[in-house]
Subunit: 254 residues, 2 copies
């Protein structure tokens, strides 16, 4: 009989978010679960780490279940570091992050706390997956995602992932999924629209808002898949070298 | 006569840091400079953006010079977004970020606020470069870097950069540079060592510390170049798709 895998669960919406509670429920079916997650929302934190402030980390019980749980004052990347260095006895067999309330497809991957936790785990040599649902609502229905999450996680546990690669899984908002599609990251960006206001003291301030613009019409992209009701799976790497430009750059007068 | 280029300058150590003051001085020699930088240190912020808090941005004069300067309460990525959307009349010809006090070589690129600003500019279609010096000291001598910074910036202004690529330039601590070397990102990571302490109220807290471990012995890496007194230039991309794994992933039972 094979030993049950050790699974680390984290997110960026905070340890009480419905998304992570769903993810914990699914992971309890396939392994021994330890949760180390932020004590509050950390969305848009990118790959931030806490170096100029103190970090707290305490065991808590959010709800019933066999999992052990810890909440931390840190970012998602901090949570993974704390789990690996301070909490777990051994390297986990899998790290899952999410389910994020909102999209991490396309360029959103670089702003995403959810994906930064998965990438941090990948950097530490742990197979990792980030899950996100294209629905910002706290009351989104996560139940239809469960069998797909289990399937992707079990595939990663069985097949492993290459060194330097983690998975970015996004679910469309519509629950009648057509299936899973392996994709590349669409070339898209946010066109910022700052909402300029005046505070009660007469000082100008801004809220960051924006419009997502997809410049990429490819049918092999995550945006295409999601728009067509497929679940997108993008393999993500953290060697950021633009290898294709090295030769040309060598011809410059540097 | 060619129009002088419009250059956006930012960083993550804050607008008064000696590193950015040096960068401004160099850029004043080659273009019209607008500075939009954080009002305080933002190191380790990764690609964080401010979505749940208000943003302030005010014109200031830090020192003499032809540049226009604005300080912001936001992250480095916020500063670029603010500059492009709210401050500049047209898209800048170049965005430079730094000079960071400390290394952004190898895996540090994913934690780096300096590089996140360059990447954000790249996402917005602006040729961009991040500069870093492997010396954390506030009193580091930035003067020997000046001619090299000018050379790299002028090359980018003349040649442009491919869509989706920005440059990550790191200077070794030793000032007798052997020259510039185009490199790939070394495969390395941080092995965390949390410093566990007890606060005056008896509660456990942590400081994040760690040891940088380079697993990559390649002589074409940034770590090799820097250890051998070369200035490293790594072309960095923000399409994070692990294209080499897509075919294999398609053979999974998903």
């Amino acid at each position: 009989m094979k030993k049950r895998p050790l699974i680390l669960v984290t997110n960026d919406d905070g340890i009480t978010a419905p998304g992570i509670r769903t993810l914990i429920a699914v992971m309890n079916e396939i392994g021994d679960v330890v949760v180390v997650a932020p004590d509050g929302p950390q969305s848009g934190m990118g790959h931030a780490v806490t170096i100029n402030e103190t970090l707290y980390c305490n065991e808590i019980n959010v709800d019933e279940g066999p999992q052990k749980e810890y909440k931390s004052s840190g970012t998602p990347a901090d949570c993974v570091k704390l789990a690996v260095s301070e909490i777990l006895d051994r390297k986990p067999d899998l790290c899952v992050s999410g389910i994020n309330h909102g999209s991490n497809s396309s360029i959103n991957v670089i702003y995403s706390g959810t994906m930064s936790a998965a990438v941090e785990a990948g950097v530490e040599g742990i197979p990792a997956i980030g899950f996100s649902l294209l629905d910002y609502s706290w009351n989104a229905n996560f139940n239809p995602l469960k069998p797909f999450i289990k399937q992707v996680a079990q595939n990663v546990l069985e097949n492993g992932l290459p060194d330097g690669v983690v998975l970015n899984v996004n679910f469309p908002k519509n629950e009648t999924f057509k299936g899973i599609k392996v994709c590349r990251q669409a070339r898209a960006n946010w066109v910022e629209e700052f909402d300029k206001r005046i505070n009660p003291q007469g000082r100008v301030y801004y809220w960051l808002t924006g419009k997502f613009v997809n410049m990429d019409k490819g049918e092999d992209t995550d945006e295409w898949a999601l728009a067509n009701n497929y679940i997108s799976v993008v393999p993500v790497q953290f060697d950021l070298t633009a290898h294709h430009f090295i030769q040309k750059l060598n011809s410059w007068n540097l």
